[in-house]
Structures are given as structure tokens and as C-alpha cells.
């Protein structure tokens, strides 16, 4: 199981990193979602015990799942939800001001803006 968890975490992380390097911002957001998923899975996999749900009354003689990692994973899930929603609206805002979600177009436009500002400052 240990290798399998590590392998799946690695796949999620690797595909996330690959998507983050893509040109359009939507895929960047997708990449961040995948990386968050990788991290949450990693946290859960790091639990010291696996078994029944940690809810009283506890089963006699059976192992119970590590509740600490679950609490942390919950926190991580909710935060990644908030961040993803923020990123999505950021992407939309970028689109409304620049009419593109392509990173290369954006950096060209930024450079152009900088140049214009510099010209104005000189003038």
C-alpha cells in the first residue's frame, strides 16, 4: 500500500506540475487543483493507523483510523476550495481586462504596458 500511495501522489503531483506550465490559465488552475489533491491524499496516507471511523462508541479490538490526519485533510480541502474559487475569479478578471487567458499574450501585454508607462514618465 505504501508504494501505491506514494505512486498515486506522485502521478497527481506530476500531472499537476505539467498542467501548471501550460500556456492557458485555466489549465494552471486545473494543475493547482491536482496538486492540492495530491497533498490531501498524502496527508491521509500519512495516518499512522487505518481501520474504522474514529467515532464513539469505538469498536472493541479493531483498529481505528488516525483522526488527526483526517482533521488536517479536512482543513486542507476547505482551504484549497477557497483558493481555487479565488483563482477562478482571478482568471475571469484577467480575461475581462485583457481578453485573453494565455500567459504569453499576458506577459507581452504587461511588457507593453511597462514600456508605455516608462514613455509617459519620461514625457
Amino acid at each position: 500500500m505504501i508504494v501505491l500511495f506514494a505512486l498515486v501522489v506522485a502521478i497527481l503531483f506530476g500531472t499537476g506540475a505539467y498542467l501548471m506550465l501550460k500556456r492557458d490559465l485555466i489549465r494552471v488552475v486545473a494543475g493547482i487543483i491536482l496538486i492540492s489533491n495530491a497533498v490531501i491524499l498524502f496527508i491521509i496516507a500519512a495516518g499512522l493507523t487505518r481501520g474504522r471511523a474514529p467515532i464513539y462508541p469505538l469498536p472493541e479490538g479493531e483498529p481505528i483510523s488516525d483522526p488527526l490526519v483526517q482533521a488536517m485533510a479536512l482543513t486542507a480541502i476547505v482551504i484549497s476550495f477557497g483558493i481555487t474559487a479565488l483563482l477562478l475569479s482571478l482568471v475571469y478578471r484577467v480575461y475581462t481586462t485583457r481578453e485573453t487567458v494565455d500567459k504569453e499574450d499576458l506577459s507581452l501585454a504587461e511588457a507593453e504596458d511597462e514600456r508605455q508607462l516608462e514613455v509617459e514618465r519620461r514625457a
Partner: protein, 793 residues
């Protein structure tokens, strides 16, 4: 009560003034004067009642207490802050309407001014009474903030704004030094309470460093060389502000703090020697520059640097006479300096001139003012029959105790002081008439007369001021020898030095044409290569580096992401290479009961791999949600139903949100993205390479970590045991809301901030310039597109 009353009156003054401001500017002025007078009276009453202390625990579990005490040091500085405050406010009540009228600003602007001055006063009173280092820091910063707004009060002038910013930045650095120092002290002695620290302090390098940092902060605030340059700039403020800033607040706060931590400074002779050097430099440098200045307020500004240099020297001489003398000096200086500043303000108001070279002979039109400010000037110049005589007597006494070289330097400093004071006063009032003569309104003269009277009375009956100074000295110096300043008509060394001073000053004044060029050249050199240049260059450097960082950040987002991923990978690789790995990795067993989990994991992996392929965003989103749901199933199989429930719910709502946002983009854009020009092959392989590398390292780290579970009993076991006591059955919920609730608190704060961010990004209000922006950028985009095609091919 003796502590609380002055404190509350001083701190409550600003709100009272603002409330009175509803009625208009004049009521606000009167409210400020009354509040300052009440605070002054309450301080006097507190001193009469024998002082006192106040200690309220407001967050005891974190060791946070509100501790104030009205000791000798606090009484002295609080009396100055409130007493000089009354004089300055009385003066402002007439001066400010005129000032605003000259600038064509509404009279209501004055309300803010009065409120800020009394806020400044409140911050000073709080600072001097605070016995807790954290409180000292808070009030220290409050004085900086109040002074920022006051120096930049004429906010339409670029010069004022720059001066205010400079004062804020420079004294902000002082606050940082103070903060580091007090945190060090807390780490050393485990408390922020100053009396306890003084009790526990023992000499040592760490203690020296902490006290040195705090002293450095105090020196910057007191405008000592080489951090003196902000003070002459701060003259851009309206005159009453300068008068107050120099005599009773802000600059005085620096030497106050030196007095407050004096027991700590005394532990290190090295620190005292360092202070001595800084003080002497400031004294000589400030005096020489003051002699070369032409603008009235500039002379006084450099004089302040020199005068606080005296105070630092006296403190660092480390004798009873020095410590009492320093406190006495602060009183005498505050009275005389505020009177001289107000004189400069009145003269400028009447004649419209602010330079010595265009003024002269004004005693004809302003005889009362000339007399009152003459007394004040004599006080600053330490002539007999003024309070100033005793400040120099104590100064000489302290210097003599240390040795003749110091006495010689003290004499030189005192002579220079007398010379520039004469230069200032005679330049305005004596000689042939230059500048218009006029009659000033009474309120612009009365406070100066009052201050001049105090200077003269102090020269006859020295006991009240001496008592104040001695009480203040006793706080700093537990084993204080009584020093009683008095007139002695005999040939003791102090008197001889005073006579030498007068003779030397007369020589300096008479020989002015001979040394003036040299002094002016020194001043110019200081301006060209001095610390003010370093400050300006530092600002330019900072701006440039932040622009460079911005350029790096914005130019290519992908390189930026890669620059995060690649160094991380390198670090991880080094870590893996350096760690012995033999037997560290475990494969783990898979049993039949694990099959559903394995299935879910495999589905998630497939979903993630699929997500890299599609060109259509819709397919991408579906692949993503399949990953999310598979993982939720895995969580459920692993005995984590809470996580599984939240994961399913959040995955669903996130998918819907993602679809909703996609619906906002026009179909052409998405199609364009999907079909668009294919990336250059090299880039594509770079991306695949980075992805594979990131995956490989995540695998290595993940496997290594998961193979090594912590050996000792998990905290979780404790949590499980404690859950019934916490009135809960679900351990996970109990952890979230109780055992580790602070984590949850932090998390929901993040969520709240994210909501603010979304609201700011998608809010209903369209920005007015958005449409123009859009047009402009779409043009740019077209040209950018073309450029890229050319490069791509």
C-alpha cells in the same frame, strides 16, 4: 487613580477634540487647550499625591499586562508634554487660522491639527508612564504616526510630504531596532515588564546587544548623528508642530527612552562610551551647522540636534551629576526651545520673512517679543539668572568628574551654543531694520512671554525644576548622590568654565568672517556625502530592485513556476542523496480488504493522466472531478467518513463553479485555446520533463516519508482518549473545533479573505476606466500576437 487620571485625560483628548470639532474649529481649539491643561494639572496632582502605579492584566495567559507608573521620569516628561502642549495649543489657536488662510484652505482643516497634537501628547504621556516594553513600543509607534501626519500637515506641498515620509521611515527604523531589542530582552529574561528586567539583568554580550539596539533606536528618534538628517527636513511642518516636536515630544522621546533603560545601559561601559562618541559628534556637528544656517527654523533644528547631543553626553558620562543634569537639561531646553520656535513663527507671520539675512532691527516693532525671546535665548545660551545657567553648571560638573578633556569639549560645545543663539536672536531683533515691521496679535506673543517668564523664574528659584530632575534621575540611577544646582560666587571650576565659555563665545562671534567660509564648506560637504545622500540612494535602490523583481515576476509566469519547482527539486535531491536510504523504504502489503481502496487510487491516477490530454476545457473539468470523486471514495474506504463527505460535497460545488466560470468565457476563446498554435517542441518537452521530474521527486519524498511513521505514540491517541471529556463522539470534529481549533480559526480566516478577494474581483461595480483599458489592451494584444507569430515561425 493618580496614574489613571492623567493617562485617561491625555489619551481621551483626541476624541474629545474631534467631538468638539463638530461645532467648528474654534471649539475644537478650546477643547484641545482645556484637555491639555487638565492633563497637565492631573500630572501635577499625581506628583503631589506621590505618584503611583497601575497594573491591569488584560490577557494574563499570554503574559500581556497594562502596567503604568507615575515615577519621577514619567512626571518630568509628562509635565513637559502637557505643559508645553498647552502653550503650543494656545499659540496654534491663533496661528493656525492664519496659516490656513495664507494657503487658501478651509478653517475646518484646523480640527484635524488640534486632534493630532493632542494625540501626540497622549502618545507621549502613555510612553513615559508605560512600564511594559510592549506598551512602550506601541506608544513609540503612535508618536511616529502622529508626527507623520503633523509634519505632512501641508499635504499639498511635495516638500512636506517627502519630509513626513522621511521622518516616518527613519523613525520607523528606530521602532524596528527597539522591537528587536525588546524581543531579545524578553527572550533573555522571560518578561516584558521593565522593572523585572532591570532586576534580573546581568552584564553579558546578549544583554549589551539588546540594550544597544534599544539605545540605537532612541538615538535615531532623538536625531543624533548620523541619523540626524530627518529633523531639519521636518521643519516643513507648521511652526507649532516644530516647537512641540523638538521640545516635548518625539525627539524628547528618544532621550526619555535612554533614561528609561538607563539601568540596562549602565551594565555595559562599552555602550556608554559609544553613546558618548555619538553625543559629542552630534553636539559639535549640530552646533557648527546651526551657525551656518540662514533660515530661522533650520538654525533651531540643528540646535536641537546639538542640544540632545549634550543630553546623550551627560547620560553617558555615567555620574550622578550627569544623570540629574540630563533630566534638568531636558526641562531647560524644552522651555527655551519652544519659546524660540514660537518666536520664529511669530516673526515670520508678522514680516513674511523666514531668513536671517532678510531680517533685522525687529525690536522696534516687537519689543515685548524681543524681550521674552531674549530671555529664552539667554536660557538656551546658559547665561546667569536663567534656568539655563544651571543646566551648564551640571554639565560642567559631570564633565569635570570624567576629566579635563571632556571639560574642554563641554566648554567648546557651550560656547558654540551661545554663539548660534546670539546669531539667531541678534539677527532678528538687532541691527538696522530689515523686513516689514508689524503688530502681532496677542495670542502669538503671550505663550512666548509665559515660557520666557518660566525660564527667568527658573533662574532665580531653581528648586522646583531641580527636584523634578532629581526625582527623574533617581529612576535611572538608584544610588544617586544629591546634586544641588545653585549660584556660588567663588572660583570653583564650574564657574571658571562658564567664564571661559562666555569668552570663547565672544571670540567666535567676533571672528565670524574668518571661520564662516570653512564652516559653510563643511556643511556643504556634509550635504553632498552625508547620510541624507545614503538615505536617498537607498530609496532609489529599493525602488529599482522592486521594479526588477516585478519585471522578473510578470514577464514569464511559466519561468516563474519553473523557478519554484526546479530549486525545490534540487533541494529534495540533495536531501535524498545525503540521507542514508538503506532499509528506509518499505513497500507495504496489500490485502483483499484493500481492494476497493486500490481501485479508487488507480481511478484517480488515470483521471489525472487523462486531464493532461484534452484540448476542450469541458473534458478537462470532467477528468478533474473524476479524480476528486475517486479520492473521496478512497477516503471513505480508509475510515475517514468526515473527509469523504466534505470531499464529495466540495468536489461537486467546485465542478459547478468551474463550469460556471467557463460559461463566462466566449466559446471562440476556449476553442482558440484548444486549437491555437501548438507550443514550440522544445517547450513542450521542457514541460513534460518538469512534470516527470516533479512526479519522480514527489514519489521519492512521499515514499520515504510514508515508510517512516513516527515511532512514539501518536497525538491522535491522546485526542481519541480525550474526546468523551470534550462532550463529543466524533473525534475528527472534536479535533477541528476543540483540540486544534486554532488551525480551524486560521483556515476560516483564509476563506473569509478569499471571499473578500472574489468580491473585489467580480463585484458589481465596473471600474470606470475598464472599457478604455480593454480597448487599449486588445490593440496591444493584436500587435503582440503578430510579434509572437513572427518569432514562433
Amino acid at each position: 487613580m493618580t496614574v489613571l487620571l492623567p493617562l485617561l485625560l491625555a489619551l481621551g483628548a483626541a476624541p474629545v477634540v474631534l467631538v468638539a470639532g463638530v461645532l467648528g474649529a474654534r471649539p475644537a481649539a478650546w477643547a484641545s487647550i482645556v484637555m491639555a491643561a487638565l492633563a497637565c494639572g492631573a500630572t501635577l496632582w499625581g506628583r503631589w499625591a506621590g505618584g503611583g502605579a497601575l497594573d491591569v492584566a488584560w490577557a494574563p495567559s499570554w503574559g500581556l499586562r497594562l502596567t503604568f507608573a507615575l515615577d519621577g521620569l514619567a512626571v518630568l516628561y509628562a509635565l513637559l508634554a502637557t505643559g508645553i502642549g498647552v502653550a503650543v495649543l494656545l499659540y496654534s489657536a491663533r496661528y493656525l487660522p492664519l496659516h490656513l488662510e495664507h494657503q487658501g484652505r478651509p478653517a475646518r482643516d484646523a480640527i484635524r491639527f488640534y486632534a493630532l497634537i493632542v494625540l501626540f501628547m497622549g502618545a507621549m504621556v502613555g510612553l513615559v508612564m508605560a512600564q511594559d516594553l510592549l506598551l512602550i513600543f506601541v506608544f513609540w509607534d503612535l508618536t511616529a504616526i502622529a508626527s507623520y501626519y503633523l509634519i505632512g500637515y501641508d499635504r499639498h506641498k511635495a516638500e512636506s510630504r517627502a519630509a513626513a515620509l522621511m521622518a516616518l521611515l527613519v523613525t520607523g527604523i528606530s521602532a524596528v531596532l527597539l522591537l528587536i531589542g525588546l524581543l531579545l530582552l524578553q527572550a533573555l529574561y522571560g518578561t516584558f515588564a521593565l522593572p523585572a528586567i532591570v532586576e534580573r539583568a546581568t552584564p553579558g554580550p546578549a544583554q549589551t546587544l539588546a540594550a544597544g539596539l534599544i539605545a540605537a533606536g532612541a538615538l535615531v528618534k532623538s536625531a543624533q548623528v548620523p541619523a540626524h538628517f530627518w529633523l531639519p527636513r521636518a521643519m516643513a511642518a507648521p511652526t507649532p508642530v516644530s516647537a512641540y516636536l523638538h521640545s516635548a515630544a518625539m525627539v524628547a522621546a528618544g532621550v526619555f527612552l535612554l533614561g528609561r533603560i538607563y539601568p540596562l545601559l549602565r551594565l555595559s561601559p562599552f555602550l556608554l562610551d559609544l553613546l558618548l562618541v555619538v553625543g559629542l559628534l552630534s553636539m559639535i556637528f549640530g552646533s557648527v551647522l546651526a551657525l551656518t544656517r540662514d533660515v530661522l527654523k533650520q538654525i533651531l533644528a540643528y540646535s536641537t540636534i546639538a542640544q540632545y547631543g549634550y543630553v546623550v553626553v551627560m547620560l553617558s558620562l555615567g555620574t550622578s551629576a550627569g544623570v540629574v543634569g540630563a533630566a534638568f537639561y531636558v526641562i531647560a531646553h524644552a522651555l527655551a526651545k519652544s519659546a524660540l520656535f514660537l518666536t520664529a513663527g511669530t516673526v515670520t507671520e508678522v514680516t513674511g520673512e523666514d531668513r536671517l539675512s532678510r531680517l533685522g532691527g525687529q525690536w522696534r516693532g516687537l519689543p515685548v517679543l524681543a524681550a521674552a525671546s531674549g530671555v529664552a535665548a539667554a536660557g538656551l545660551g546658559a547665561l546667569p539668572l536663567t534656568i539655563g545657567f544651571f543646566k551648564d553648571e551640571l554639565f560642567f560638573k559631570a564633565a569635570l568628574e570624567r576629566g579635563w578633556p571632556f571639560a574642554a569639549l563641554a566648554t567648546l560645545g557651550a560656547a558654540l551654543t551661545l554663539a548660534y543663539v546670539w546669531h539667531f536672536w541678534s539677527g532678528i531683533f538687532l541691527g538696522p531694520l530689515r523686513g516689514e515691521a508689524g503688530r502681532p496679535p496677542l495670542p502669538l506673543v503671550a505663550p512666548i512671554v509665559a515660557l520666557g517668564l518660566l525660564v527667568a523664574v527658573g533662574g532665580v528659584a531653581v528648586a522646583p525644576a531641580a527636584d523634578l530632575a532629581e526625582a527623574a534621575g533617581r529612576v535611572a540611577f538608584a544610588d544617586l548622590q544629591p546634586v544641588e544646582p545653585a549660584y556660588h560666587l567663588d572660583a570653583r571650576p564650574e564657574n571658571l568654565l562658564a567664564l571661559a565659555t562666555y569668552a570663547l563665545a565672544a571670540t567666535i562671534i567676533a571672528a565670524r568672517p574668518r571661520w564662516f567660509r570653512l564652516a559653510a564648506a563643511t556643511a556643504r560637504l556634509g550635504e553632498r556625502v552625508g547620510p541624507e545622500r545614503w538615505y536617498a540612494a537607498g530609496l532609489v535602490r529599493l525602488n529599482r530592485s522592486s521594479r526588477a523583481l516585478l519585471a522578473l515576476e510578470v514577464r514569464d509566469l511559466r519561468s516563474r513556476i519553473a523557478t519554484v519547482l526546479v530549486p525545490t527539486a534540487v533541494l529534495v535531491a540533495i536531501g535524498l542523496w545525503a540521507t542514508p536510504t538503506e532499509g528506509a523504504f518499505r513497500v507495504g502489503r496489500i490485502t483483499v480488504t484493500d481492494l476497493p481502496t486500490v481501485l479508487g487510487l488507480l481511478l484517480a491516477a488515470v483521471g489525472a493522466l487523462v486531464a493532461t490530454v484534452p484540448r476542450r476545457p469541458l473534458t478537462l473539468i470532467l477528468a478533474l472531478s473524476s479524480v476528486g470523486y475517486s479520492l473521496a471514495a478512497v477516503f471513505a474506504f480508509l475510515g475517514a467518513p468526515d473527509v469523504a463527505l466534505v470531499a464529495v460535497l466540495i468536489e461537486t460545488i467546485l465542478t459547478l463553479l468551474f463550469l460556471g466560470v467557463l460559461a463566462l468565457f466566449p466559446a471562440e476563446l476556449l476553442k482558440d485555446q484548444a486549437v491555437g498554435p501548438a507550443p514550440r517542441p522544445s517547450l513542450r518537452w521542457r514541460n513534460v520533463g518538469v512534470g516527470l521530474g516533479a512526479g519522480a521527486f514527489a514519489f521519492a519524498v512521499g515514499w520515504a516519508t510514508l515508510s517512516q511513521p513516527a515511532a512514539q505514540e501518536s497525538v491522535a491517541v491522546q485526542h481519541i482518549r480525550l474526546t468523551p471529556a470534550a462532550h463529543a463522539k466524533d473525534v475528527v470534529t472534536a479535533i477541528l473545533a476543540d483540540f486544534r481549533g486554532l488551525d480551524t480559526m486560521g483556515e476560516i480566516t483564509v476563506i473569509a479573505i478569499a471571499l473578500l478577494g472574489i468580491a473585489a474581483l467580480l463585484g458589481r461595480r465596473e471600474r470606470p476606466m475598464a472599457s478604455d483599458e480593454r480597448r487599449a489592451t486588445s490593440d496591444e494584444r493584436a500587435s503582440g500576437e503578430e510579434k509572437r507569430r513572427r518569432e514562433g515561425r
